[in-house]
Amino acid sequence: MADAVEELRALARDLLSKGAVQVFVGYGAGSVANRTIPLIITSADRAGELVWNKHCLNNLAVYLTRQEVLKRGKVAVVLKGCDARAVTGLLQETQIPRERVVLVGMACDGMGEPLLEMCRHCDVHTPAAPGGDAHRLACDHVIGTATAANAAPDDEAAFADVAKIEAMSPAQRWAFWQEQFSRCVRCYACRQVCPLCYCKRCAVEKNEPQWIASSAHEAGNFAWHMIRAMHLAGRCVACGACERACPQHIPLTLLSKKMAKSVAAHFKYRAGTDPTAAPAVKTFDSSDDNSFFR
């Protein structure tokens, strides 16, 4: 990691000083030992503030659609393999022009101390470099090589927590989610940190009429989390940012993983993995099962 951070700083210095980018988004030291911050710099002099360690958890792809960053010019962004999947999604959904961004992939053996559960099932430890596999998004630069072995893409163990919920009776499931959602305060941290939740006006903010109650009561909270899950079905790349951001510790990835599992089963599609694939929600296929139309 020590070599990687030097290489990263040198690259940032180079890109900013040459004017190849005007903004560089990476990680900086946090206010406490086990945190980092998203560091947004515009001057090569500050490249030395970049860090790369076990606590670079945030998915920085979220900044690629933020005007606070975009208004300052062309942007380079540091991405882990999982974060690059979110950029794949943004490109497929034409949210960012590829030529406006410089993608800096960082090889990653997994984040967190102890290691995050999701990292145990990671199959993208090293982001793809230019000129490699056409079925993976090529970053413009890739720093380091991961030593951790990739899990199988269809690793069932990754869905063990979802299976536990599926095994519940409908009444048990209802009680489980009732308890979880009762804590939701509607701070929308889950939405704000999600790179794929880029709508200029979220469905919950549409109030003529108010389709989804913005109130933190039971019906409102159920509606909000259901809508969010459905809007991210086939789009969520399972980076886990929403769940980590939730101040009320609601296990949000259970919902998105359940959606991912269904989309994989019905449409053989896994979001953000293959930039050449047709996204499930953008594709109409007359051979799809339409038996639900009655």
Partner: protein, 339 residues
């Protein structure tokens, strides 16, 4: 003469209040967190050693995250019938075992809710609230109470202040009439000692000089620093909703053809929608402007209007922020600058 209560007797006190029909709010373990919750049984109460600071403040027992303030229905004669919630029917409340930084938010909230009108929803509950706080014997990493005029053993806002004094006992100090009444009512649960035993109180070093904050804010509404620190702000309500003093709300109507209700919901200046006009214009169009508002409101506007900072230094926002936009660190930066 000192008054002492044991942890066990404190639970009995909570039990006594429950029996008397009082709603008792206490720190309770919930999954991997400790939260303030209305308890049914004193055994639910988390031990003082289990937490430094509950996940969020207890403000929602006075100012709920979502509250119906008016109900209406279309009567049989097609005329509307309005019903106000009966706040007098709500039981008295007692918070047992809160931290002094949360209790200290009460005089701050009293100002805003009693400023241009007396907010009956807040004050009806506030009048019936008794606060028993436990001074912190440990501090969390981001506690900065002493930097903003609060303290681990601050008496502000509490009716009774308890301080740990070893052997599972607390030194009790009744600070207000309500506090004295509570101690008298449950006199058998308190012991008397000739001399006050030494209390265990956490040491919290001042992180910055608060006197330097406002002069800088006065002169730097426009400053490149705001974009520098706040471009990364995600614009969620995590900081505001956990905050003991944040009090902004939104009013929404939910109903159908037969009737409905008007609700008051928590809102946050971090949200882009917070200031968006019907015309589409947004006077705070960028995230750094919204973050600036949060800092200005707490350490400048509130001070000018009410003579108090809208912050007790609990440090929750520093810890909860998904991008570690640490308010204490921001204030340190501000304090280090030349006004």
């Amino acid at each position: 003469m000192a008054t002492i209560i044991s942890e066990e007797s404190l639970k009995q006190l909570a039990g006594g209040l429950l029996k008397a029909g009082c709603r008792v709010i206490a720190p309770v373990r919930q999954q991997d967190m400790v939260v303030y919750k209305a308890i049914k049984d004193p055994q639910e109460m988390a031990a003082d050693t289990e937490y430094v600071l509950p996940q969020s403040s207890f403000k929602e027992f006075l100012f709920p995250r979502c509250e119906c303030i008016l109900r209406y229905r279309i009567g049989e004669d097609k005329k509307p019938v309005y019903e106000s919630p009966n706040l007098d029917a709500e039981p008295p409340q007692a918070v047992i075992g809160c931290r002094p930084c949360d209790a200290a938010s009460l005089p701050i909230l009293d100002k805003i809710f009693g400023w241009d009108y007396q907010d009956q929803f807040y004050f009806k509950r506030r009048e019936k609230l008794t606060v028993v706080s436990i001074a912190c014997s440990r501090a969390a990493e981001r506690c900065f109470c002493t930097s903003v005029g609060c303290a681990p053993d601050s008496a502000t806002g509490s009716d009774v202040l308890l301080k740990k004094c070893g052997n599972g006992k607390y030194l009790a100090e009744a600070l207000t009439d309500k506090g004295k009444q509570l101690v008298e009512k449950f006199a058998s649960l308190f012991e008397k000692a000739d001399a006050a035993p030494a209390a265990e109180v956490a040491q919290v070093k001042a992180a910055f000089d608060a006197e330097k904050i406002k002069p800088w804010l006065d002169a730097h509404f426009e400053d490149p620093m705001w974009l520098e620190i706040a471009a990364r702000c995600m614009g969620c309500g995590t900081c505001a909703f956990g905050c003991p003093t944040c009090h902004c709300f939104d009013i929404v109507d939910e109903g159908d053809l037969k009737g409905g209700c008007r609700l008051r919901n928590w809102d946050t200046c971090g949200s882009a929608l917070f200031t968006k006009h019907g015309s589409g214009h947004n006077p705070r169009s960028s995230q750094e402007q919204r973050y600036r508002q949060r800092v200005m409101h707490k350490y400048k506007y509130y001070v000018e209007k009410f003579g108090l900072r809208a912050c007790t230094g609990c440090g929750r926002c520093c810890v909860r922020c998904p991008v570690n936009l640490d308010l204490c660190a921001v204030l340190q930066t501000i304090a280090s600058r030349q006004a």
